[in-house]
């Protein structure tokens, strides 16, 4: 194979450089706002701060309730509990559903898959009023459990499609071998299928986690007490019609991003495997 010409190499690197700068610039800019003293909006396009301070981070972290409790800790806890529960409940529901859709023939299978797909075509806000009424009826407004139910059910269609696609690529002979070895359908599922589906489970779980972690509109409608707030609502409160604390907002945005970044790093091996799995059969 001929080596590419230096002009081509330079062009490729130039494009990569531009894309990298375009991707990193907003992040650096937010970082600059977070590290700069004061709450003004950074109009200077240079993304490196001239003075560095962590007071914005300290302010966000040390926010207290009216009774003097640690409000940020409570809100972080809310977000973590809701997101982890959403991922767990969503995975538990969608894994078994996706496996059934992948392996069994039954009446309504195609229609069910189609219905799952259709639900993904509408923005979440369309469901806002029905969900509000439902949660109100069930006494789950201002309740973390209510948010978990809402997020988990909205993440199920996407998770089912992703997992079904992955299960379709797993050779059926492995399950048949397990059954010949004496395993029940449940043992085959838990001891052979699920371990092999780890990359897909990691990806799907991460998506569910992120969906719940970043969600704002449903959370701000279904929850009104600051003790029940999730972090996206907290962020929004720093910049509203009457107030614009850009420094606190930027510091909060970085703090909110950290758990997701950490999860990405922890799961990146599975993430790449999961995205590429199924692209080649066999």
């Amino acid at each position: 194979m001929r080596a590419p010409s230096w002009v081509r190499v330079m062009l490729v690197h130039l494009v990569l450089l531009v894309v990298t700068v375009a991707a990193l610039y907003p992040v650096l800019w937010v970082l600059k706002m977070a590290l700069t003293p004061g709450q003004s909006f950074a109009v200077d396009p240079w993304p490196i701060p001239q003075t560095v301070t962590f007071e914005n981070f300290a302010h966000v972290i040390n926010t207290e309730t009216s009774e003097g409790g640690w409000l940020f800790g409570r809100q972080l806890f809310n977000s973590l509990v809701i997101s982890l529960s959403t991922a767990a409940v969503g995975l538990a529901l969608s894994t078994s559903a996706a496996y059934a859709l992948s392996r069994f023939k039954f009446v309504g299978k195609e229609a069910g898959m189609g219905a799952f797909l259709i639900t993904q075509m509408f923005p979440g806000v369309v469901m806002l009023i029905p969900l509000y009424l439902l949660l109100d009826t069930m006494n789950l407004l201002d309740n973390l459990l209510g948010l978990v139910f809402v997020y988990a059910t909205t993440s199920v269609p996407f998770s089912v499609w992703t997992l079904k696609g992955y299960f379709d690529t797993l050779p059926r002979e492995l399950e048949e071998a397990a059954m010949m070895d004496g395993a029940s359908r449940w043992q085959t599922f838990t001891q052979v299928v699920l371990p092999l589906a780890t990359p897909a489970l990691a990806v799907t779980g991460l998506f569910s986690f992120m969906t719940a972690w970043n969600e704002f509109i449903l959370a701000t409608t279904l929850v009104s007490k600051p003790e029940q707030f999730t972090l996206p609502i907290v962020l929004q409160r720093y910049v509203n019609d009457y107030n614009a604390e850009w420094g606190h907002f930027a510091a909060g945005a970085i703090l909110v991003s950290l758990p997701v970044v950490a999860l990405f790093f922890a799961l990146q091996r599975y993430f790449v495997e999961g995205l590429t799995a199924g692209s080649v059969k066999g």
Binding site: L174, A177, M180
Partner: protein, 344 residues
Amino acid sequence: MATVTLDNLHKAYGETVVLDGVNVEVASGEYIVLVGPSGCGKSTLLRCIAGLETITAGELCIGGKRANERAPRDRGVAMVFQSYALYPHMTVRDNMAFALKVAKVSKKERYAQVDEAAALLELTPLLDRLPGQLSGGQRQRVAMGRAIVRRPDVFLFDEPLSNLDPALRGHMRVELKRMHRRLGATIVHVTHDQVEALTLADRIVVLDKGQVQQVGSPRDLFERPANVFVATFIGAPAMNLLPVIGEGETCRLEGLEQALPVSGTGAFTLGLRPSDMFLADSGIPGVVDVIESLGSEAMVHVTVGAHDVVVRAEEPVQVNSGDVVHLKLSTVHRFDGTTGRRLE
């Protein structure tokens, strides 16, 4: 070890009939090979015995007891799949021990049994490896080991050698033969490779279009094929088939003036194995078309009348393309011109 009886077995997927009244009795400790072309139903038949496919009609008995409705795990059978189907996330040891783990055998006991089977198959140094770290031949042995550990009444092999290269396949054939002798197991083996069938089987079942064409020992099938299908399927190169018209002591072949020295009456199909003809100074005349040299022997394609026949000859072959040669016949087979059945 157990017997396996297939009594008028049928399998259909909707309107498509895959197995059409299969009757076979496998004796305890017998090595039986199901052979046939792709799509003949041999793998489906094996999967019916395994319990991985439901039986549409007929009866399957394992060890003399009806097994149609029994779950795979309750049939006392172990299967080696064509792809080996090793669990990729488990080590060789855990793959082999899986069945015993499911059966709630203690860890100590199951690993002892795995060690025993591993020693038998020379897998001991590989026990801590993952399947992805093994060669094709090693994976095949692990799949065998996984079956052995279960101590089943019947082993089912679904084309277990088809993914191996020719040299390794030959070696593994010998290993299978040894394993059968050591374990005295009842084995039902599916293959499309007739060499595998002829070398391994106590008896061969030839299937075509879901029906049993013939059941017999490898020698039976080679020497007395029941019909044209078996005659052409068993033996390589395939038997030459010539449509002839019998005239009592001789018969006529289209395009050939000289009568063939084969008795018969009316229209029938004459079967001649390449090894049952030889080049001679006199006999049936023909013209050499192509010579395929295989080292110690050669396949000489000769045009006789309006037909081509293949003759096996020992090297060095003293003829060239275009030469006129003469053929002598040793053994001939006769088949009904319409039904294709063997004529005695």
